[in-house]
Every structure is written in structure tokens, then in C-alpha cells.
Symmetry: C2
Subunit: 212 residues, 2 copies
């Protein structure tokens, strides 16, 4: 962990980066354990950061989860919004998005579980905020893409809000239920090769199913 070494050798820079280090530590722990279970001390220890700073930066575990969702999802959502606006064939845009979604889950395999877990642990008010920040922009993008494809005669007239679940679910499940690979097929990890096979397989089914 280069960053941790940097924080050790340079306390000023380390302090400045403590927030980012804590987020990386939480992200790494969830990947390694294939689980959302970690304590605030676990991540303080992993990041070599004083555990008091966890409370300072995030308040509590939910605050940290939210910050991690912002770190992992905000760029992806902005990229999706840019993609929607591109002067590119809508079929290519949707293919690009679905492949990117699998790449995103490959990088952060806990992501869909984390957003579901955080929503379920939130008050109505916070759940609405989370939804406005993370779900609504994605749903809006799907609506624009599907409508564009339907108008152009290349997509079937599917309901965009139902397509949202088809897309997210089919791209995520291999990461949320990775243990099926292990216990049924003796496959311990999702390698780069397996990821690419999964992208091919998913695009073949979902895109050709969506296209007229």
C-alpha cells in the first residue's frame, strides 16, 4: 500500500489524505472479505490512521458508507450522463454502459450490496436523498436511452423503469453471489478473463433481447 507508506513517511500529507486512506481501507476490506462487515477500528488499523479521525470525517459507519458510495458512484454516474449526450448510435451507447457497469462492479464488487444495505438502514429522509443522488440520475439516463432507441426503431418498447432492474440485476448478481462460482464450480475468483466472458455473455443476451 503505497499511500499508507507515504502517510507514514510524511505525516502532513498523511493527515491531508486520511479521509481518502480510510475510504480505500474500507473498500479493500470489503473486497477482500467479500462482505460488508467491518468495524470502524478495522479500517482505522488498515489505513494506519488514528481511529478518532473516522468519527471526525464520517460521524459513524453509515456516514462512511455514504462517502464510499459517493467516491465509487459519482464518477460513474457523471460518465453515464455524458455518454447519454454523446453523438453516438444509441445501441453503442447502451452496450458501452452495460460493459462499463460490469467493469465498475468488478472493481467494487460490494457496490450494489452496499447501496442496498445503506438504503435499508436509512431514515425515509436519507433514503430519499440517497435515491435522488444515486438512483434517479441512472433511471433518468435509462429513460432517455430507451426512448431514443424506441423512437429510432432499434429498441423494443420496454418500460425503462423495469429495464433498470434487468440491467442492474443481470450485471451485478455474479458479484453479489460470487460464492456460487466457488461452491458449485470450484472457481475461487473472478479473473479478468472470466469478467470479459461475462461481459460478452451479458451483452449478447441483454442487448440482443432489447434490440428489435
Amino acid at each position: 500500500m503505497a499511500q499508507t507508506n507515504a502517510s507514514r513517511s510524511n505525516p502532513v500529507r498523511g493527515k491531508k489524505n486520511a479521509r481518502a486512506l480510510l475510504l480505500s481501507a474500507a473498500s479493500e476490506l470489503m473486497r477482500e472479505r467479500d462482505s460488508l462487515n467491518f468495524t470502524l477500528s478495522d479500517i482505522a488499523e488498515r489505513a494506519s490512521v488514528n481511529s478518532a479521525l473516522v468519527k471526525y470525517y464520517f460521524g459513524n459507519k453509515v456516514g462512511l458508507q455514504w462517502a464510499l458510495l459517493e467516491r465509487d458512484l459519482t464518477t460513474a454516474i457523471t460518465e453515464l450522463q455524458e455518454l447519454v449526450k454523446l453523438d453516438m448510435h444509441v445501441v453503442k451507447k447502451m452496450r458501452h454502459h452495460l460493459a462499463g457497469l460490469i467493469q465498475l462492479y468488478f472493481r467494487y464488487p460490494y457496490l450494489n450490496r452496499l447501496v442496498i444495505y445503506t438504503m435499508r438502514g436509512s431514515s425515509e429522509e436519507d433514503a430519499q436523498k440517497l435515491s435522488d443522488q444515486f438512483f434517479k440520475p441512472i433511471c433518468d439516463a435509462y429513460e432517455t436511452l430507451i426512448n431514443e432507441g424506441v423512437r429510432g426503431g432499434v429498441f423494443k418498447p420496454v418500460d425503462p423503469k423495469l429495464f433498470y432492474f434487468t440491467a442492474i440485476g443481470s450485471c451485478d448478481q455474479i458479484f453479489s453471489a460470487k460464492f456460487v462460482l466457488k461452491y458449485v464450480y470450484n472457481i475461487d475468483d473472478i479473473t479478468d478473463d472470466l469478467k470479459h466472458s461475462f461481459i460478452d455473455s451479458t451483452l449478447k443476451i441483454i442487448m440482443e433481447g432489447l434490440e428489435v
Copy 2:
């Protein structure tokens, strides 16, 4: 709750059915709360059953989860295995299965989350048992169906183990992330009509994507 009333009015029958009443109570609570969070006392109270019986029948919460998976999944898996053997066109069999899977999740919306949660909380040995009991038979059935369809020239040559995740994920996500309907679309519940639209939409995409 007719069963609970029966247990109140007829203590002998009630005692005999206490195990089933506790499972129903857990199932109902998870549906109503749209959450896997319940305590053993919650369900004993809901079932009007002495809470000591929860320990007697299930040992602990994991034991109860396992029993509930057996109650909810065993019949569905047997039906899938019967379906695979039927003298019926393989496209019709797969359509029938996917529609049935959505019906199953509609009835027990917590099911996929519960099996994932139980796996993640299990020892390696128990996870292997759970997998042999619940995942392997489904994966085997998918392999048989896909191979039959590919040999018959009606399915694309997709990898059955990857198709497993596409199918489960695309059928489940609307139930695992139901709150997206609420917070983005102001839709409070998955009605029978919405379920049927979702079955139509999912079959249109997944089946037409799978077919040559």
C-alpha cells in the same frame, strides 16, 4: 392470520404446528418490513408461540433461516427438476421457469437476499452444504436446459454458469431493490399488474436475447 387464530383456539393443533407457524411468522415479517432484520422474540410473538420453542426447533436464527430456505426453495427446485425432464419444447420450458422464478420472488421477496445472507454467515462446511442443496440443482438444471437448446439450434451457445447469474439477477433485482420504485417513481408496492408487466418485459429481453 387464520393460522394464529387456530393456534389460539386449539392448543393441541397449535403446538403441532408451532414450527410451521414460526416459519410463516418470519416470512411475513420479512415481507412486511422489506428487511431481513427480525429477532427470535419478534417471530415468537407474531406466531403466538412460546419463544423457547424457537430454540427447540431451529437452534438459532441461522437454523431458522435455513429452515425457511428449505420451506420456500425445496418445492421450487423439485418443480424445476421435473420441468427439465418434461417432453416440452426447451424454449417453452425456459420461459416457464423464468416466469415461475419471478412468481416465486413475488411471493417471497426476501428469498434471494436471504440465501445470500445465510451463505455469507456460514462456515465453509455449511456453505458447501447450502450450495449442494440449493445452488447446485439449479445450476445443473440450467446446464441441461441450455445444452438442450444449443444442440437443438434454438439457444445461442452461452455459458450456463454465466446464464445462471443473468437469470437470477434480472428476475430478483426488482425485489431486492424495491425501494427504487418507491423513491424514484412513487410506486409503493409491486402489484399483481406490475408483476405481470415485469414478467413480460423480462421474458422479452432474456428469452429473445438467449434465442438464436
